[in-house]
């Protein structure tokens, strides 16, 4: 299925990536090429096949419901672009 520039723009918005207008057409061509190659999957009969979501068939393990880590404010903030008084500083979320 061919992707047009408007679809690229929509997907880029969903992915929170700013693509400049002049990149939309080239990206549409690249992505259409990749998806056209992927189309061959439609040849495979997958009726009644269970989707494979994990590489190994093991149940998710349970652990004791106890606190394992915490109290590491300094460590957690160590790489933050902006902090104040032990908090992350982020742009205003609610007007």
């Amino acid at each position: 299925m061919a992707i047009d520039a408007a679809t690229v723009s929509k997907v880029a918005r969903l992915a929170r990536i700013a693509e400049p207008p002049e990149r939309l057409e080239p990206l549409a061509r690249e992505l259409s090429g990749i998806l056209a190659w992927i189309e061959q999957l439609s040849e495979v009969d997958t009726d009644g096949v269970e989707p494979m979501t994990s590489a190994v068939a093991v149940a998710a393990p349970m652990r004791e419901d106890v606190v394992t880590e915490g109290g590491d404010v300094t460590k957690i903030l160590a790489n933050a672009p902006k902090t104040k008084d032990g908090f992350f500083v982020v742009p205003k979320v609610v007007e």
């Binding site: 992707i3 679809t7 690229v8 997907v11 880029a12 918005r13 969903l14 992915a15 929170r16 990536i17 700013a18 693509e19 990206l27 690249e30 992505l31 090429g33 990749i34 998806l35 190659w37 992927i38 189309e39 061959q40 999957l41 439609s42 040849e43 495979v44 997958t46 096949v49 269970e50 989707p51 494979m52 979501t53 994990s54 590489a55 190994v56 093991v58 998710a60 393990p61 652990r63 590491d72 460590k75 957690i76 160590a78 790489n79 933050a80 672009p81 902006k82 992350f88 982020v90 742009p91 205003k92 979320v93």
Partner: protein
Amino acid sequence: MSQLTSLTLKAALAGLADKSFSSEELTQAHVDAVAAAKPLNAFVLETPEKALDMARAADARRARGEAGALEGAPLGIKDLFCTEGVRSTACSNILGNFVPTYESTVTANLWRDGAVMLGKLNMDEFAMGSSNESSAFGPVVNPWRAEGQNAKLTPGGSSGGSATAVAADLCLGATATDTGGSIRQPAAFTGTVGIKPTYGRCSRWGVVAFASSLDQAGPIAKTVEDAAILLKSMSGHDAKDSTSLDIEVPDFPSFVGKSVKGLRIGIPKEYRVDGMPAEIDELWEKGIAWLKDAGCEIVEVSLPHTKYALPAYYIVAPAEASSNLARYDGMRYGLRVEGANLTETYVNTRAAGFGTEVKRRILIGTYVLSAGYYDAYYVKALKVRRRIADDFDQAFQKVDALLTPTAPSAAFGLGENADDPVAMYLNDIFTVTVNLAGLPGMSIPAGVDHKGLPLGLQLIGKALDEGTLFSLGGALEKAADFRAKPARWW
């Protein structure tokens, strides 16, 4: 000094054990080799002082009789592994100067056993690539050159720094990761040994995530036995990774040198693809003959869905990547490029921080997961993935392991496939099936092409049967007797 860097890991550990040299001497030799190898661009961060500190500590532990399995052995660490207090970037600008406050489980296991860190190794950005050209630090250069030429070749990817560092004797071994072939293809391109173990063997905790259901860590090494020694140390259950397997780690090195007589080796006919160089086909035939001579029985098998593995992978991996990489929002760590509001800050940060190939994959992933396309693309790919895994299950009812080429070509020139994403993706045609099925796969250097460039053969094993791969790998290594080394030009 060059004598110390040309040792295998096994020989170096023996030399340390019988006091022929100290870890400090061994490490200094490697620090010097790394410093002299800038043109290869294999390291994105050198940590010589840390290395020498670790080496002296290792010497002290050995003197006290407390030597671990890797005591004093200098290694290189792929920049995808978080290392406490040492910058870890996944070779992406979006992680910028990220300095982890924690250690990945795999590297922690290596330090537990006494290994020494020389520095962080270059790779494709977020491990997305087959040529190392997507790295924010620029491509790694393969130490191998075509005979009589000095054109720069790719070491493959994404673990190109790991493969180059091992091939050029800059370290005794290196950590690497493999989501679609990122250990095995660079190993094949550089004349080194690389193994991707069974999914769940190595903990993913502290390894920057690309596609979580496919990512596995493993070593790149100079020999099959060295790879076995490293993998034993890297493996093991970790409660911090819910997909880590809670089973005992076998003594992998003990499998190297074991007889392979009577093992049944499958040759999947679907791996004979159009346009593959005749030399690779010939090498494959040689590999078959070597294993026959070693007493194996050769059986033709069919993996009918092989050709669908790459297209399925290019839905599953980008889908998981688009989800995993949503965490890079400029709020808690890494790059932040301010905008007029929150959304604009996200959008600006991610546009500036991610490279072209990473953006391309995030867009594909977002598209195939978006409303209206989820079933047609993503669920379809997961069903095809099951078909591919079922093919292996059926083949492994008849055989103990499979033998294939590792990659459809030898190392190619930097820039050669840069304009065509699909052509680049085809590098992983023989390796990606193994990731989808969660199986172990190993590449062994088996010969050189007419230009004198290394070629690899791949062994694929049953889940959790790395042991058989080490035995077969040892047999192939012995028969191939691959001793060529790149001539030093850097």
